[in-house]
């Protein structure tokens, strides 16, 4: 087997694949953020808390009613999405006309409150969530052992990302949505109920976060702080991709997963900094992000 920069190529392929898997999570989460920012102009800082809630709902329904992983993939996003709808109706709808900062502060505060409540109830150490039987085990790819669950993560994430992109960019519904953000008054004049559409969009974005949370539950520690650890990175991904750009969020999500994976081989100490270095460079060269349109 040949070597690249002193690393056996097999190990390198393994790391690339792992980067892609982590990128799947970044893509799923940044997708939700991009949808919310693109359609509502809200910087949703409670996204991490909503991701965490997804994992906790999955844990709770397994614990108390024996509902397993597969139904949880549907139920948890619905429950948390509904919570999102309530948040939008009660709080966010009053903020659209104000500066971005207000939405950011509100959602940040909500994130702290949600996290605090969960920590108070369940403690900080985390809770166990077992992997579904059908996804255990893995394949030996020759250069690495690929757990079945990780393969499923890539497939599911790609499917969700592509269909979301398709709905928003290529269908009539998506066209309404985009039109409603450009000029809500005009779209309402055509007889479309814009506030309901906006509410549902926020609910959908939040549901995406919860979906990622359920996906994460079997492989990461289910703890109250799991979201806040991830959310900063995901924001960096969104900024690099271009705020509000759906395609940008997806592509940079996967791309930065790979970059981070490679950093873990060559310079592990920097692996949680590298994304921010890239962010700084991108902001210097292209302030609107790689895929962003200049305002």
């Amino acid at each position: 087997m040949f070597e690249i920069f002193g690393i056996p190529s097999g190990a390198l392929f393994g790391q690339l694949l792992i980067g892609l898997i982590n990128g799947s999570f970044y893509a799923l989460l940044s997708l939700g953020l991009a949808v919310i920012f693109g359609m509502l102009n809200i910087i949703n800082f409670s996204h991490g808390a909503q991701y965490m809630l997804g994992a906790f709902v999955a844990y709770l329904i397994l614990q108390y009613s024996g509902i397993g992983y597969w139904p949880a993939l549907i139920i948890a996003p619905l429950v948390v999405g509904l919570l999102g709808v309530i948040i939008e109706r009660v709080f966010l709808q009053w903020l659209y006309k104000l500066d971005h900062l207000y939405g950011l502060l509100l959602t940040f505060g909500l994130a702290l409150i949600i996290e605090g409540i969960v920590r108070n109830k369940f403690g900080s150490a985390g809770l166990p969530y077992t992997m579904p039987e059908s996804l255990r085990g893995g394949q030996n790819l020759g250069f690495m052992f690929l757990p079945n669950y990780r393969a499923w993560v890539i497939v599911a994430s790609l499917a969700i990302c592509i269909s979301t992109w398709f709905v928003i960019e290529r269908t009539r519904l998506g066209a309404y949505l985009r039109a409603a953000t450009e000029n809500p008054t005009l779209v309402r004049a055509f007889g479309i109920n814009v506030p309901v559409m906006i509410t549902l969009t926020y609910g959908f974005g939040v549901a995406l976060a919860a979906f990622a949370g359920v996906m994460a539950a079997p492989i990461y520690n289910v703890s109250p702080q799991m979201g806040s650890e991830l959310i900063i990175v995901v924001f960096a991904v969104v900024v690099i991709g271009g705020m509000g750009s759906i395609l940008g969020a997806i592509v940079t999500g996967f791309g930065l997963g790979v970059v981070e994976g490679l950093t873990k081989v060559f310079f592990p100490e920097a692996s949680n900094t590298v994304i921010f270095v890239i962010m700084a460079i991108v902001l210097l060269v292209r302030p609107a992000g790689l895929f962003g349109r200049r305002a």
Binding site: P8, G123, A125, M226, G261, P268, E269
Partner: protein, 403 residues
């Protein structure tokens, strides 16, 4: 006869008068992480343990009155220092106890020495607290990095795990744990084939595990704690690390971490601890009381929380003996002079360098089938006697122990 009675009455009068005059009041503060990642290890559970210690002690010694305060250092040395200063200067606190997070503990240790108060560490791990950075006001009670490294490292090398790969948390605690474990492994004839230092709070360990797998080391040593340890072990189970013939060595694992992993994932993990709630009847009985005090039936006390009970009990004994808690150095000297004895840690001693010594236990996480009741986490595989469990005084470079 009349004379004898009179004498007895006089004696009784004098005694009660003396007891009344010797009413001792002391104020202690539990400084811990109340709201973040270490709050299950210490936190409200440490406060509950302190309350139990006070209740037990004042029942036997009604002339001692103990006040308790608690605070949240948020894992920030500056916040911890500020609370310690305020407690000592304004609130007239005589002693601080617990303080998980070595960074905060080292800061509080300094302040306690400057202000001549007593500091009993239960939650923090860095062996420097009774080593190069020891002082006459600090006692390191429950465990330290040297003890963890030596207990787990030595036991594993002796059972054939002679090649190691380290996953190390990239800050002072991780480096200390890695350094101490490497020394223990090499001293016992093992070798270290590689290591990788990961940032604190790493979410995904799969990349590092792949590196550990390709190193072909028999043992993957986890020189990290809390969420990092949990995530590493979870990913290890998924990537077939254990099935491939490698084993994890958790260098700092608490009962709360095992609970978070679930036995199915954690089974077979070897670790070292100084206290386990299900080891004997005394511990079990105390755990019931702790759960009632903490109002958490499903939670199990960690060694840190048990250490708060034990350490505070010994502190109060010394205060009662001196009839005052005002002079921190004198109380700590008294604590070192008298042997320790309590229901949780049994008999022990406090050394000149401030290190409390007691036996340590090599524990192995049970398989789900072997666990008979909630919290039935470990097999006790070996007992490391007190004189072997902790770093010899001479190797610690503590200035106090040299004179």
């Amino acid at each position: 006869m009349k004379k004898t009675l009179g004498l007895a009455a006089l004696t009784a009068f004098l005694l009660s008068g003396a007891a009344h005059a010797q009413q001792v009041t002391v104020k202690v503060g539990v400084l811990s992480d109340m709201s973040s990642l270490y709050s299950d290890i210490g936190g409200a559970g440490s406060v509950a343990a302190a309350k139990l210690a006070i209740a037990d002690f004042t029942k036997a010694n009604p002339n001692v009155k103990v006040e308790l305060v608690s605070g949240d250092h948020q894992n920030k040395p500056d916040v911890g220092s500020q609370i310690a200063n305020q407690w000592y200067d304004v609130d007239k606190v005589d002693a601080i106890i617990d303080v998980p997070n070595s960074g905060v503990a080292l800061a509080v240790s300094q302040i306690s020495a400057t202000k001549n108060k007593a500091f009993v560490v239960s939650g923090a791990a860095a062996s420097d607290l009774s080593g190069a950075k020891c002082n006459a006001n600090t006692i390191h009670w429950t465990y330290d990095t040297w003890m963890l490294a030596n207990g787990t490292g030595k036991a594993i090398v002796k059972t054939g795990g002679d090649s190691w790969f380290f996953l190390t948390s990239d800050y002072a605690f991780g480096h200390a744990l890695e350094r101490d474990t490497m020394a223990a492994v090499e001293k016992n004839g093992g070798k270290v084939v590689g290591k990788v230092r990961h940032p604190l709070n790493t979410n995904d360990f799969s990349s590092f595990l792949l590196q550990a797998q390709s190193s072909k080391a028999k043992i993957v040593g986890l020189a990290n704690a809390g969420g990092d340890t949990i995530n590493a072990i979870k990913a290890g189970a998924e990537f077939g690390l254990v099935k491939g013939g490698q084993k994890f060595a958790g260098l700092l694992v608490f009962a709360s971490d095992v609970n978070a992993l679930g036995l199915a994932t954690a089974q077979g993990l070897t670790l070292t601890g100084t206290w386990y709630w299900d080891m004997n009847d005394a511990n079990r009985a105390w755990t019931k009381r702790w759960q009632a005090e903490r109002n958490a039936a499903g939670k199990f006390p960690t060694m840190v929380q048990a250490g708060v009970y034990s350490g505070l009990t010994h502190y109060l004994k010394s205060v009662a003996a001196l009839k005052s808690g005002a002079d921190g150095k004198a109380v700590v000297a008294e604590m070192k002079k008298t042997p320790t004895d309590d229901v949780l840690f049994g008999k022990g001693t406090v050394r000149a360098d401030g290190r409390k010594v007691h036996p340590a236990y090599l524990l192995e996480v049970k398989a789900p089938g072997e666990s008979k009741h909630p919290g039935d986490f470990y097999h006790v595989r070996a007992t490391i006697p007190a004189d072997e469990a902790f770093r010899p005084v001479a190797e610690g470079n503590c200035p106090l122990a040299k004179s």
